[in-house]
Amino acid sequence: MPPSESRSGESGKSEEIKAQYKKFIGRKLLFIFSSLLLIVLIAGFAATLGSYQISVTEVYAIILHGILHDPATTAELVVWNLRLPPILMGILAGIGLAIAGTTMQAVVRNPLASPYTLGIASAAGFGAALAIILGKGLATGQYLIIANAFVFAVLSAFVIYGLSRHRGATPETMILAGIALMYLFSAMTGILQYFGEQQAVAEVVFWMFGSLGRASWDKLPFVAAILALCVPLLMLKAWDLNTLGAGDESAKSLGVNVDQTRALCFVLASFMTAGVICFTGTIGFIGLVSPHICRMVIGGDNRYLLPASGLFGAVILLSADTIARRIIAPTVIPVGLVTAFMGVPLFLFLILKRKREYW
């Protein structure tokens, strides 16, 4: 602790801190804008990939032109109808999963949490399996699987919400309830698969890998609408999420309604995750790795961390999908498998590099 010597130059020191703090915020904004730029660049490159040859500049020209005009030429039809939907789904899914992951980490106060920590992926998987194997569900046609996955994911979130309302919304309660639900839904999916027909079982497995291949223009508005609802609400809660990091007692003494904040943010994160994975299947690691990397670069203030990790999540997911298309082209492997392969070395690197213990 510094002794109380020179009291001169006090204001100079304050000015210096202010300048440093401004620079720190500048760095955060720079990271956010760089991520945005990267998304545009990778998306442009990704749209050139495929059997029909189009250059990057053509892609941007077609996109700009297509905003006001209906696609007419083959190139325009290929870009707008075939290539853009999975790319846009990738961007939305990346944003949604990464922000949901950042939120879950703050909510359960553990940097190892992800959108799937509380069993939502198993619940969605069970809903999908129910639709694929038994053909039972809450909608018809191609929306049967989507609606089922979404409803069961949201249902599991509300079970955890209900339990935490009853027992107090502590991270421990939520995690234990999540583990129980995860095993329950996994077991029920297992039973369906055990008795299901071979082809249907294969389809379930494929669904669970997570892929952007099923994206289409009519599905994008659903995901976009859910993000447009949840992200601003979570941003409003950014300060409260920050205070949770100091512990429940400190957060309460700073005027935060801890239980309510935790429950609301958890529900929003779950809703967003459900909205994404019902269309894509479970794409892992984005929600875990993106917040980690962003926190290392720009620090833990959720006012900046939430948008930064969302955009960076889109960068990671788009990159992974590009690799998934290129690595053994023309065969496209599900992006969920690539993110797992990318995520593991990245994660090991973070563990080896980390400066301090998390527990």
């Binding site: 440093q20 300060w239 700073l254 005027g255 926190r295």
Partner: protein
Amino acid sequence: MVTLKVKDVAFSYASVPVLARVSMEVGPQEMVAVLGPNGAGKSTLLKCIDRILTPHLGSILLDGEDLVKLSRLELAKRIGYIPQSLSHTFSVTVFDAVLMGRRPYISWHTSEEDTEKVLATLNMLHIEDLAMRDINEMSGGQMQQVFIARALVQEPDVLLLDEPTSNLDIRHQLEVMHTIKSIVRKKGISTIMAIHDLNLAARFADKIVLMNGGEIVAVGDPSAVITPATIREVFKVEADVYEKEGKLHVVPLRAVRTK
């Protein structure tokens, strides 16, 4: 400057009573030390005052106003609380950690005024050099200063500290106590601290509240409350208490055998 009154406050975990109708008073600018063995209810009392725990009975009055009527946010403008274990799960700069103390006043955007208040407080505690460092790199003493700074930018009338010296070496114990004492005087804040160290309490507190088994057993000047008889009674320890250079000194001798 305010007077805080705790009236008949009772609290129990499940069915285990922890506080049994506790009443006490803290005057303007007064520094009160709550003493007592482990499990006496010291921390629980502080948490009840800041409504981190909700008392089952009784009321807490700040200048006659019942704190139950205040929202959490309003309460945070009146009372600052520093918990016993200080940590942050995620990395955050000291500046941002202290800025969180402005949470009751800001909705999202922080103003120039907030920044100035944080800087002035860092300056007052002589920790402005740490401003841009990560809070998890702080030593125990620095961490305590950061949390004190956070509580001060809340601009509270009352400051509650739970064992502020328990993780510190003797030099930092003294420094932290001096810091608190001078702030209490400078800012006109009333302070209640739960503390284990009888000597520090005797030296710095204006008033001692001695607790045992969820009840207050003695209240008064350090020299009136900290005596061989009360120490034997409450802590089950034989001790010498003597005065030297106007300061009270407690020397524990041996534990009293209990049946």
